[in-house]
């Protein structure tokens, strides 16, 4: 057991993922036997919570559907309450292979980053996505590269490693729905360091994507509006990286 497993919690937001979650949890348990796992059940109508409990995972059972953002914020709050040094996030559909987790830690150590994003576009792994989706993600990546003033290749990736500084920020402030792109802009604005690690994704193992054709339109509008308005917002000094880490701050 590597040393990081003791101070890390693996957060898995899941909405109706009973089919894919079982094999995923088994895979995680086989690879990292000591790693605590928390499944945040976002008010699923299937047996997501039961599947998770049967495999010994912690379950945060949300009484109403909060969306990925609200679910993840509950997970971040749990990680802060448990005093975790790192929180990992992978999606419940199994598209993020748990075997790639060490790559995120390697990048974290190398770059000294507060948040590491697993990017499927950084390496030369097989990218499986529909054409429209790649175009939209490409446009979003350019927008975020501008907003963050650093290269972002996979802004919608939910494969993330968050350290305790960023955890405290996320537990206080996290976008409500479709949080991934906006959270990156918020992080860099607050002075946190973001890095990307090349990671190979898989096909989702079962279930259905939460982003269909109609919601994709809303996704694009919502994220664009949020990114634009974020630029006009003042930096929240209480939650800036400096304030939480004590770097050069009175």
């Amino acid at each position: 057991m590597d040393h990081w497993q003791r101070e890390t919690i693996l957060l898995i937001p899941a909405f109706n993922e009973a089919a894919a979650l079982g094999p995923l949890l088994d895979e995680v348990a086989a690879l990292y036997p000591g790693l605590p796992v928390a499944v945040i059940n976002d008010c699923s109508s299937d047996d997501t919570a039961g599947v998770a409990r049967a495999r010994g995972a912690l379950v945060l059972d949300l009484p109403c559907n909060l969306g990925v953002g609200g679910a993840m914020q509950a997970g971040f709050a749990l990680a802060v309450a448990r005093g975790c040094r790192y929180a990992l996030r992978i999606d419940g559909d199994g598209q993020h292979p748990p075997a790639e987790i060490p790559r995120l830690f390697a990048t974290q150590r190398e770059m000294g980053a507060d948040v590491v994003i697993g990017s499927r576009f950084l390496g030369q792994g097989a990218v499986t996505s529909t054409r429209w989706r790649s175009v939209a993600i490409g446009a979003l990546a350019r927008l975020l590269t501008y907003a963050c003033r650093q290269r972002i290749t996979d802004p919608t990736s939910g494969f993330q490693l968050v350290n305790h500084h960023a955890l405290r920020f996320f537990a206080a402030t996290y976008p409500a729905d479709y949080p991934e792109p906006e959270s990156l802009a918020l992080l860099t604005r607050q002075g946190y360091r973001v890095a990307e690690a090349p990671v190979a994704f898989r096909e989702r193992q079962a279930g259905r994507s939460s982003i269909g054709r109609r919601t994709a339109f809303y996704y694009a509008l919502k994220v664009t509006l949020a990114l634009l308005v974020d630029r006009a917002r003042a930096v929240d000094a209480r939650l800036a990286r400096q304030a939480l880490t004590g770097d050069g701050h009175p």
Partner: protein, 186 residues
């Protein structure tokens, strides 16, 4: 001509006042909004200025200015509310759409409204009122649905909290020797 000058003067006063307030309070967002307002109003007015005489400053033109200002107020208020985190983007989108539609009607009344007038036989004023009314109806309908959903969520959460408290009390009664756990952060 005097009418136009009055309108222009009013706009100038408005924009400069806004810019002044924004600069004094060092509010960058408001300053940018005021600047945008000024630019678009100038564009809007310059588009209708050529060959304009006093007799052509009609009721319709005044109405366009009023609706244009209305839409701008709506857009600025919405964006400012989002910026202050008083409003979620989800709800802002409908307001932004409403503001933009009203703006389009103020900027290009002939193209869209001519069609609407031909189909329904309504005058410009009536058409504007109907369109604005329809959008406000849409917004309030949307809110009724969202409010009902939020009400359901609150009820479900309250039930869950009540059940959890009951379970916790039962647990504490069976094992009173256990030390009390530290209070969890909010």
């Amino acid at each position: 001509m005097t009418h136009l000058l009055t309108i222009l003067g009013g706009v100038l006063v408005l924009v400069s006042g806004l810019a002044f307030v924004a600069l004094r309070k060092r509010r960058r967002g408001l300053a940018i909004a005021g600047l945008l307002l000024g630019i678009v109003l100038v564009l809007f007015l310059s588009g209708i200025t050529p060959g304009l005489t006093a007799d052509r400053v009609t009721m319709e033109l005044k109405l366009r200015v009023v609706t244009g200002l209305l839409s701008f107020l709506m857009l600025i208020a919405t964006l400012e509310a989002v910026r202050r985190t008083q409003m979620h983007e989800r709800y802002a989108l409908l307001w932004v759409a409403t503001g933009l539609v009203i703006l389009v009607f103020a900027l290009y009344p002939t193209t869209i409204l001519a069609w609407l007038q031909r189909v329904t036989g309504m005058q410009y004023v009536t058409a504007i009122v109907i369109v604005v009314f329809a959008f406000l109806l849409l917004v309030s309908f949307h809110f009724s649905i969202m409010l009902s959903r939020a009400r359901d969520d609150v009820a479900r959460t309250a039930r869950r909290v009540a059940l959890l408290e009951q379970r916790l009390e039962a647990l504490e009664r069976t094992r009173p020797e256990d030390p009390k756990p530290p209070a969890s952060p909010p």
